[in-house]
């Protein structure tokens, strides 16, 4: 299997320039459904509608508006929107380099592999230099009329650019307060830690398979042949009343199975 590049650009910092090709690192494996009109099973379409008159307005004829906090609507026409479109560029500017993981994964949005585009010596040197320094680059670039911020790093020995969420899109944990209560019982904490240690292992992504996709396809096949599936409502369990007892029993069970 091979994947086609969808964009080209050049990484630049200082006097360095490395031309690269972009490849999607994420593969979509979801089972895809269509939305249908229940009555006639025709796939639905979407349209912008004036809810007062039910008139359909073509996408190209609609204007955009920004709604302020005071519920004023500020109309932006095509000219306004064109005027703020970022300038097209092939430049992937590295603002600066940072120690690993300073860019927390919670900013991560979507990873792209970078392949060589011509200059293979510079490409290989970039990989070597990232390896040697262990650093990650903070990048900015414009791709298909959109501005991106990204993290340049290595994955399995190859350079990747991970697009990042913008400031304000990640809720800061510092702004939240943890649930409070009486001091936790030390014995219970010890038991909980012991239980965690008994179930400890290294993270191995290959250990987890999405079995549900297969089950969904099986369900579809069953229904196609006229079968049905029993619906079971989702219930939330009651919280454990006696945490100490539950922990003790869990530890006993784990020891037995060990």
């Amino acid at each position: 299997m091979s994947v086609r590049a969808f964009w080209k650009g050049a990484i630049s910092f200082g006097a360095v320039r490395v031309p690269v090709k972009f490849y999607a690192a994420v593969a979509d494996r979801s089972v895809h459904f269509r939305l249908l009109h229940k009555k006639d099973r025709v796939p639905v379409k979407q349209a912008m509608v004036n809810p007062e008159t039910d008139d359909v307005v073509a996408y190209a004829d609609a204007k955009r508006a920004y709604v302020t906090e005071d519920h004023d609507w500020v109309v932006l026409d095509d000219e306004d929107l064109d005027s703020i479109e970022p300038e097209a560029s092939r430049e992937i500017e590295i603002l600066h380099f940072l120690p690993p993981r300073v860019i927390d994964h919670r900013w991560y949005l979507r990873p792209y592999y970078l392949g060589p585009d011509g200059d293979e010596n510079n490409y290989a040197a970039l990989v070597g230099a990232l390896e040697k320094t262990g650093k990650e680059g903070l990048a900015r670039w414009v791709m298909r009329k959109k501005e991106y911020v990204g993290a340049l790093r290595l994955h399995e020995g190859y350079p990747v650019l991970v697009s990042l969420r913008h400031a304000g899109e990640v809720v800061s944990i510092e702004e939240l307060e943890a649930p409070k209560g009486r001091k936790l019982d030390q014995k219970e904490l010890d038991m909980a830690s012991e239980l965690i240690c008994m179930m400890e292992a290294e993270f191995d992504p290959a250990e987890y398979q999405n079995e549900h996709r297969e089950r969904i396809l099986h369900l579809i096949e069953t229904k196609r042949r006229g079968g049905s599936v029993k619906i079971r409502p989702i219930k939330q369990a009651k919280p454990s009343d006696n945490v100490a007892e539950a922990l003790e029993a869990s530890l006993k069970r784990e020891r037995k199975s060990a």
Binding site: S2, R41, R106, E175, K223, Q236, K238, V243
Partner: protein, 351 residues
């Protein structure tokens, strides 16, 4: 612009999951300990969401319609179908998709704990905060503390809204969060892409690049560097038009289409999160279903004012750019939308 349209469709569809209602309510099991929780999204959608209007300035709503009958459809008239052959669909609903994995649909069963730093960041996809359900504060705190002490993350798979997810449960500052991880086959390898073997670079080039990297290095990341410049430019035009009172429709009868009122979302999300993390332990126990219904949007907005007041003691350094922007707006500081966080703080101080 077919591309753009598709993109917007996807975004508005995702917005349904991103409101302040819980993404999922269910139970975390840790050994024999049950911890009922609700998941709230920890990321906000784009800050500057534009609404569509027609030529008379009337707000438009996104509607599904049947191309055969040419009628607009209500959500009850829409079903999900899988195309088994051309134009032949098998109808499947969410309850059925959940019911084919009954245990995984109601439980996040933590049976594996891994070192937090041992998860490759490339796997992380999206984060949710966990809020304890009624009466679950004690097991919640216990879980959070012991996971933080041991520096371990719990790993499990579960089925949410008909889809299977690989989750990492992480603990930080007494707050648990669930992060969706990509399954191994959702992340391509360099071999999948067909990337060529990396040649040996000239030592001289590597040394020069290392030098350049080190010369361009910093220790910390400034949130301001992640600012959405495109959004800031939109706000710039908006400010100009507001000041000139040009192209401004003053409070047209706002039809608050629930899915699209994203402008209100951030404050509500914060309020709902704060509210759910600080439930009173003495309220009577209720089932998960009732609970999720009991957190309507209004609960969030009524709380909003109080949150604002509580924040007044905050120093400006603790405030986000959005909060500073809101303050700058109130006291009408010109050019505020183009200012960085520190510029906003300085302008407010100087006013």
């Amino acid at each position: 612009m077919p591309d753009k349209k598709q993109h917007d469709e996807k975004e508005s569809h995702e917005a349904e999951h991103h409101g302040p209602r819980p993404f999922w309510s269910g139970t975390i099991t840790f050994g024999l300990v049950s911890l009922p929780v609700s998941l709230f999204v920890a990321t906000r959608s784009k800050r500057v969401a534009l609404r569509m209007i027609d030529h008379d300035g009337e707000p438009l709503a996104r509607r599904y319609f049947c191309p055969k009958e040419k009628t607009a459809l209500e959500s009850e008239e829409i079903v999900r179908g899988y195309e088994v052959e051309k134009d032949k669909f098998v109808i499947v609903n969410e309850e059925e998709l959940d019911s084919i994995a009954p245990e995984k649909s109601q439980e996040i069963d933590l049976r594996r704990f891994v070192p937090v730093d041992g998860i490759d960041p490339m796997f992380f996809q999206r984060a949710y905060f966990l809020a304890p359900s009624q009466g679950a504060i004690k097991p919640y705190r216990l879980m959070a503390k012991s996971m933080e002490d041991t520096e371990r993350a719990g790993i499990a798979t579960c089925v949410i809204r008909g889809k299977e997810y690989l989750l990492a449960i992480l603990s930080y500052k007494g707050i648990l969060r669930a992060e969706i991880l990509r399954f191994a086959d959702e992340l391509r390898t360099p071999a999948d892409i067909g990337l060529p073997k990396i040649k040996k670079a000239k030592n001289k080039t590597v040394t020069a690049m290392v030098k350049s990297i080190n010369a361009n290095s910093r220790k910390t990341l400034d949130r301001d560097e992640l600012l959405d410049e495109g959004a800031a430019r939109i706000l710039g035009i908006v400010d100009e038009k507001l000041e000139a009172d040009e192209d401004v429709l003053h409070d047209p009868e706002a039809i608050e289409d629930e899915d699209e009122s994203e402008a209100d979302e951030p404050a509500d999300l914060m309020a709902v999160l704060k509210h759910s993390l600080q439930q009173k332990a003495d309220r009577s126990n209720q089932s998960g279903k009732e609970k999720s219904n009991r957190q309507p949007k209004r609960a969030g907005s009524s709380k909003k004012k109080r949150t604002r007041k509580d924040d007044s003691s905050e120093t400006k350094a603790d405030m986000t750019r959005d909060e500073l922007y809101a303050e700058a707006r109130e006291i009408n500081i010109a050019g505020r939308s183009r200012m960085t966080k520190s510029e906003l703080a300085a302008a407010i101080d100087a006013s």
